[in-house]
């Protein structure tokens, strides 16, 4: 009953909050700047952020009448500035969490609270049809991550609902976006206490397993992990079918070629205008450097022309030499 009530609340808040309404001519994405953005639930949420927004919190032990200072568990810290820059910034904490959390100390039973999945709110809703959450879910179910669902894997492992923000679609700085995206993977894949919550596999040294990559640091800085570790699906915006390590892209030419797969993954959201062959051959050459994909057509044609002229001149010279030798012999 409580879950249903909360779902109704979520629905109402989604319908009423102007910032995320679509099709009405109003802004689809509200102000993302956590400094200027003012949440309709700012005061209400402050009650939660007072403790959960920092590393230590304070409360009064009413039984003893003492003031207690305590350390907040790392997993339960949500920086308000991160939350107000996230996709869910227009929410009230109790849109998703029980109203009972407003009572302190929180009841132990609340820990057992059933959490939403992405599809609980985003599935079957025309508002979010462009994101194709159902397609994402279908891809996720084919991914290696899905196999870990019984061990506790869920959408939230990568997309923390408190801090996750759409990045690649709105990217103004590709390098920052890549870093943001890769940190999502590294959150578990480079932190073995977190990694071992889901698997008994031995510790994996990512630097070692990727040491076959020439100029490893450049690759890590310039592409997202998912470029090589997911299967591209044209019907969804960002690939979610994470592959096993044996199926990961290992052929350099997949990216280092004229029809680089990066054009349908990393650079997918850059406008066609930016991607067309311009003076600098569009987006790849302007923002990134990918050997093999960075072929400047003008320089390519000019070099072929110069090379052709030189060969022609040599051939003409050879012909004259042959003629001269024949004359000499004659």
């Amino acid at each position: 009953m409580k879950l249903l009530f909360t779902k109704v609340l979520v629905f109402i808040s989604l319908s009423l909050v102007p910032s995320i309404s679509v099709g009405s001519g109003r802004a689809v994405v509200p102000d993302r700047d956590p400094v200027t953005y003012i949440s309709p639930f700012q005061e209400e949420n402050l009650n939660c952020f007072k403790c959960h927004g920092q590393e230590k919190y304070e409360y009064t032990n009413e039984l003893l009448g003492t003031q207690v200072k305590a350390i907040m568990c790392l997993e339960h810290i949500i920086k308000s500035e991160d939350f107000y820059a996230s996709n869910h910034r227009s929410f009230s904490c109790t849109d998703c969490h029980s109203e009972d959390y407003s009572i302190f100390p929180h009841s132990g039973e609340l820990r057992m609270e059933l959490k939403y999945t992405c599809l609980d709110c985003h599935g079957g809703d025309d508002t979010f049809s462009s994101f194709s959450f159902e397609g994402i879910d279908a891809d996720y179910r084919e991914s290696v991550h899905f196999k870990l669902e019984n061990d506790g894997f869920s959408c939230w492992k990568c997309h923390d609902p408190h801090t996750y923000r759409i990045s690649i679609r709105e990217s103004k700085n590709l390098k920052e976006t890549i870093l943001y995206n890769n940190n999502i993977c590294l959150h578990c894949h480079s932190d073995y206490s977190r990694f071992h919550l889901l698997t008994d596999r031995d510790e994996v040294n990512l630097m070692k397993t990727h040491d076959w990559l020439p100029d490893q640091a450049s690759h890590f800085r310039s592409i997202r992990c998912i470029e090589c570790h997911t299967r591209i699906n044209d019907s969804i915006l960002v690939a979610h079918q994470v592959l096993s390590k044996d199926q990961a892209v290992k052929l350099c030419n997949e990216c280092h070629s004229r029809n680089s797969m990066l054009m349908v993954s990393l650079y997918k959201f850059h406008s066609k205008e930016q991607r067309r062959d311009g003076f600098l051959n569009g987006i790849i050459l302007n923002e990134s450097y990918v050997i093999g994909a960075n072929r400047n057509s003008y320089l390519g044609n000019a070099s072929m022309l110069i090379f052709g002229i030189v060969i022609l001149m040599i051939l003409i010279h050879i012909i004259f030499r042959i003629k001269r030798n024949k004359l000499k012999e004659g």
Partner: protein
């Protein structure tokens, strides 16, 4: 006429092999495609081979410069202002016209003059402009952290790449012309044999 000492011949042979490997691997990388690259070398092998060869070339280049200073071979590369353009024109005229008319070489090879004016300017540009440019830009590509981040609103890495590829193209062009002009000795193979034996075969009068 003993014109090419052992160190020079060994360096020249090594340099030739390195340059050919660099051109093949460079083209393989630049024109790589999903159906694998041309010139048979796969992208991954091309990158590895190109990097290793480039390091050896850099060392070999430093050796060349040091030996040029130490042995006095550098004197052949010294450009003279006097009659610079008129000598160039004279040499070009010989290649384009005079040699077909049986004219004498305007600048015959001697112990004091190993290169004709056209050779000299080409070799100076290749060895003292082209090579340093391609080595420096190559180091910039090998160690991206040392390249300028941005210039003229474009990534410094991309500009370094364009400089590297363009210089590489002109050096490749030089190689083609160099090989061809080496057939213009007393006999088509004379100059090649000279670089193996060290002895220059003079042209017939």
């Amino acid at each position: 006429m003993y014109l090419y000492p052992v160190w020079l011949r060994l360096w020249h042979a090594l340099n030739a092999v390195l340059i050919i490997i660099l051109i093949i691997t460079g083209i393989s990388m630049q024109y790589t495609d999903k159906e694998d690259s041309i010139f048979i070398v796969s992208f991954a092998s091309a990158v590895k081979l190109h990097n290793i060869t480039a390091i050896v070339l850099t060392i070999s280049y430093i050796f060349f410069v040091v030996m040029n200073i130490a042995t006095g071979n550098g004197k052949y590369y010294r450009l003279k202002r006097k009659n610079f353009f008129s000598d160039l024109v004279k040499q070009m005229r010989y290649y384009a016209y005079g040699m077909f008319k049986g004219e004498k070489h305007p600048f015959p090879v001697s112990m004091e003059r190993k290169f004709n004016p056209l050779q000299k300017i080409t070799y100076v540009l290749t060895m003292y402009v082209g090579l340093p440019l391609i080595i420096i830009s190559g180091l910039g590509l090998m160690f991206p952290e040392i390249t300028v981040k941005k210039a003229f609103g474009v990534s410094g890495f991309i500009l370094t790449d364009i400089l590297h590829i363009t210089t590489g193209f002109f050096l490749s062009l030089f190689l083609v012309v160099h090989i061809y002009t080496c057939t213009l000795g007393a006999r088509p193979t004379s100059l090649f044999r000279g670089m193996l034996s060290g002895y220059h075969e003079p042209e017939e009068d």
